[in-house]
């Protein structure tokens, strides 16, 4: 009985971290185990609550729209107050790193595809780019950063927003490989690598000079989200002082620096709350006694080590995070084999049109009001297991733009209830 904790959280993304912090604040001894790098690196860094429901029009007031969601939706299980509280916790953890807490109304952030996304919180680095600020905009892309085509994004944005948007592509200052990784470029901006030894000119200044040639009447400038890995604020402020206009980052796909910066913040918060974090090995099984999980087994390469805990939180992610798995026979939750509602007939998992309302996007575990996964007979699978985040079914995070809010609110509730149940048992 060597490894023993009050609460064991499985999964280290936004949901798992929130659950662990909430349980630790409830006085529990918490251990978080995570297998690989989490999917925050694939995430834009925007914290959305609810962007769309039932129509193609973006939702302006997400909290007012939550009661209209179907009964099975995770938001309906935890209630709108929990969503608000979880955002307050997020604001506290991220401090001045995020903005948007001054209002409940959705902000509209431009995306690298030239669309706008409704979101509740946004990195401070994206604040100057919001569509509500009706300012003429210049988008700048780099020849080697092929994931952001600034002229194309600008053309699309220009046709849908009430201000002018232009886009240019320039070479990134310095001598880099054609396929240089964005972390490399971000690092060069962090360090402000010197490019002209004689005149002692750094990367930031050269970049600003190249952009200035295209500035024209633009009142703000947007870059792909590579403005610094560790010093984003400093990099942005340097560019702003050189250019004389606000500078913002356009959220990007993987590998996403705003996602990685958020990951760093979460790690720090977990550390401050005294959560023990273990990374590198998957949870592959469990012991059960009288309807309760008594231990989860961590696979350490050809051997299984028991981790004992009184309460367990499942936060392993969805199809992308691999908390939900599938093969030709069916869709499963691989750790505790929780029931995943699905049609017997595989041809009913999807519709032909890619962007239709796809059934498979809602696959995941179904939970009760207490977030406990339900077996096919509608009874909880285990008395002391709760599920949180993208492993949950009955909602479509990509379609609704609700991924972050569901992870935060179900994480908060699962962690809090887990620690309450401990006191209840004492």
């Amino acid at each position: 009985m060597a490894i023993e904790d009050d609460v064991l959280v499985i999964g280290g993304g936004l949901a798992g971290a929130t659950a662990a912090i909430a349980a630790a604040r409830g006085g529990a001894a918490v251990r978080l185990v995570t297998y690989k790098e989490n999917t925050l690196r694939n995430a834009s860094g925007l914290i959305d609550v609810l962007g769309y429901h039932g129509s193609d029009e973006p939702i302006a007031e997400p909290f007012e729209a939550i009661p209209d969601l179907p009964d099975e939706h995770p938001y309906r299980k935890v209630g709108v107050d929990a969503v608000r509280e979880s955002l307050a916790l997020f604001d506290e953890i991220t401090e001045d790193f995020y903005e948007g807490s001054h209002t409940e109304t959705n902000a509209l952030s431009p995306t690298y595809g030239g669309r706008v996304k409704p979101t509740s919180r946004y990195p401070a680095s994206a604040a100057a780019g919001l569509a509500s600020r009706l300012e003429e905009t210049l988008l700048v892309g780099f020849e080697t950063v092929t994931t952001f085509d600034a002229p194309l994004a600008a053309e699309r944005l220009d046709s849908s927003v009430p201000f002018d948007v232009r886009g240019v592509t320039i070479p990134f200052p310095g001598d880099y490989r054609a396929d240089a990784r964005i972390t490399r470029l971000a690092g060069a901006l962090d360090a402000d690598d010197v490019l002209d030894r004689q005149r002692r000119i750094g990367t930031r200044e050269v970049l600003a000079a190249r952009v200035a040639e295209h500035l024209g009447n633009a009142e703000r400038v947007g870059f792909p989200a590579i403005l610094g890995d560790h010093e984003p604020r400093e990099v942005r402020e340097s560019l702003e002082s050189e250019l004389g206009v606000p500078v913002f980052e356009v959220p990007m796909g993987p590998p996403s620096l705003p996602g990685m910066r958020l990951e760093d913040r979460l790690e720090r918060a977990l550390d401050e709350e005294g959560v023990r974090v273990e990374a590198g090995n998957p949870v592959v099984g469990y012991d059960e006694d009288d309807g309760r999980i008594t231990a989860a087994y961590v696979d350490r390469g050809r051997r299984r080590v028991p981790y004992h805990a009184e309460q367990v939180v499942l936060a392993t992610g969805g199809l992308v995070g691999k908390g939900i798995d599938s093969d030709r026979e069916g869709v499963t939750e691989p750790v505790f084999d929780c029931h995943v509602p699905q049609s017997e007939d595989r041809y009913e998992w999807f519709h032909d049109e890619v962007f239709d309302d796809q059934p498979y996007a809602r696959f995941g575990v179904r939970v009760d009001e207490d977030l406990r996964p339900l077996s096919s007979n509608g009874k909880p699978e285990f008395a002391n297991l709760r599920a949180t985040g993208a492993v949950l079914g009955d909602y479509d995070l990509a379609r609704e733009k609700s991924g972050s809010g569901v992870s935060l609110s179900t994480g908060l509730v699962a962690g809090r209830r887990a620690s309450e149940d401990l006191q209840h048992n004492e």
């Binding site: 690989k36 790098e37 989490n38 590998p255 990685m260 050809r302 691999k322």
Partner: protein, 428 residues
């Protein structure tokens, strides 16, 4: 609108049947890569070396190119330091380090001149155990010779071994000599038995780590065995010297299998040794008993944490007040052990440990010893040095011998192994 009526016309078949060769087919690994670039953003070499294409290319992409037949392995594979952080980064279970090791082995076999300076140097460095064996015969002389500036210059100019580093000192007495002098195990037990895989470094350079292992395990009532053994192969994998690694593995697997038959589990104090026996052995070699050895191998403190109440025992102990700056080696991270030492020391009265961040130390065994890699190695280590200075510790702490060299080289601090701290706490 359902397609159900067409379902009997379309029967999917297995497109890629599983390899029959026992897991050496890397195809599924290449297919599992969905190009998210998480590995590239975690690669310490790619972060500082512009000409390094990164693990995504070195692994799955290069593997695919090779299917074309006439495509050579790119020589940049030799710039991979084998830290294996890409393994623990990949969200899709792509066996990246296995692909890199395989590619590196092929490159060295087919494309490296066997009389070139680089090949000879790499072979000498990766067979450090042999070098150390000679050194241990006359340790004082060897230390004097290796630290003389003349020899260092020759190393640099002729061999391509950097003169920037202080060559590690050979111990006056090897661990095995101490073990023999002591008369072997002092605890006998049929139930609790472990075989100690000390590796090269604890034997020739830091026998105090080996002694700490023996004393701590005996304190918990274990009978310690010290079977004959060769290098774990870690430096050989990193240099693409697979035939050398295989030869060493044959000895190790045979000897350790015998110990396992006698009821022992295998314990390593060096995290690269335990990782090699656990992961690289079964990934790269097909030897009788290799799976068994993998399944029975543990890092020392990991084993005690699982099988004994180690934290309970430590809670009743205390040490002289000291603050440690702890660095988790990449290879500890790969085994899920990055938080272990910190967690154990939390309970020890007097000991304080601060984590110096999750960057790689940059030395990666033999990598940072090569003249042309030295600058890269120090650039990678800069973040760790910086955090160590900030922590203002009394000493550094890490499980890995070469990380310890790098920590000492970059900051001047004395470096301890967590086992030594546990020994102090339990045995005074």
């Amino acid at each position: 609108m359902s397609d159900a009526e067409t379902s009997d016309e379309f029967e999917p078949v297995e497109v890629f049947p599983e390899a029959e060769s026992g897991g050496m087919d890397l195809r599924s690994g290449a297919d599992d890569c969905y190009k998210c670039s998480t590995c590239d953003s975690e690669c310490p070499v790619a972060a500082v070396d512009d000409d390094f294409p990164g693990p995504k290319f070195q692994g799955p992409e290069q593997w695919r190119l090779k299917r074309k037949g006439d495509q050579d392995i790119d020589d940049s594979v030799m710039n991979c330091s084998n830290c294996m952080r890409c393994d623990s980064a990949c969200p899709s279970d792509v066996p990246l380090s296995q692909m890199h090791n395989t590619a590196r082995g092929t490159f060295v076999e087919n494309r490296m001149e066997k009389f070139s300076r680089e090949y000879v140097r790499n072979r000498i460095l990766s067979n450090y155990g042999t070098l150390a064996w000679f050194g241990s015969k006359a340790p004082r002389l060897a230390n004097a010779v290796m630290s003389s500036s003349v020899v260092q210059t020759i190393n640099e100019k002729v061999m391509g071994i950097t003169a920037e580093r202080e060559f590690p000192e050979f111990a006056e007495q090897t661990f095995r000599a101490w073990w023999e002098e002591r008369g072997g195990a002092r605890v006998q037990s049929d139930e609790k038995r472990v075989a100690y895989f000390h590796g090269c470094y604890s034997n020739y350079n830091t026998p105090e780590v080996g002694k700490a292992m023996v004393r701590v395990f005996e304190e918990f009532g274990y009978e310690v065995m010290v079977p004959p053994q060769k290098c774990s192969g870690t430096p050989m994998f990193a240099n693409g010297m697979l035939p050398d690694a295989r030869r060493a593995a044959e000895t190790n697997v045979a000897e350790l299998s015998t110990a396992i038959e006698d009821g022992a589990d295998v314990i390593a104090s060096c995290t690269s040794c335990s990782l090699s026996l656990r992961q690289e052995y079964p990934e790269l070699f097909d030897l009788e008993g290799i799976e068994d050895v993998s399944a029975h191998t543990y890092e020392a403190l990991e084993y005690l944490r699982i099988h004994e109440d180690l934290s309970g025992a430590l809670a009743e102990s205390e040490v002289d007040s000291r603050k440690f700056a702890y660095h988790a080696p990449c290879h500890a991270r790969n085994q899920g052990l990055a938080g272990q030492a910190l967690e154990l020391l939390e309970g020890v009265e007097g000991a304080e440990a601060e984590d110096v961040g999750d960057s790689c130390s940059g030395i990666s065994g033999t990598y940072g010893w090569k003249t042309e890699k030295y600058d890269t190695s120090m650039k990678i280590g800069a973040e760790m040095f910086h955090h160590m200075e900030d922590a203002e510790p009394d000493a550094g702490m890490t499980e890995c011998p070469t990380c310890a060299m790098q920590m000492e080289h970059g900051t001047g601090y004395e470096i301890r192994h967590p086992l030594q701290v546990v020994e102090d706490a339990l045995l005074g």
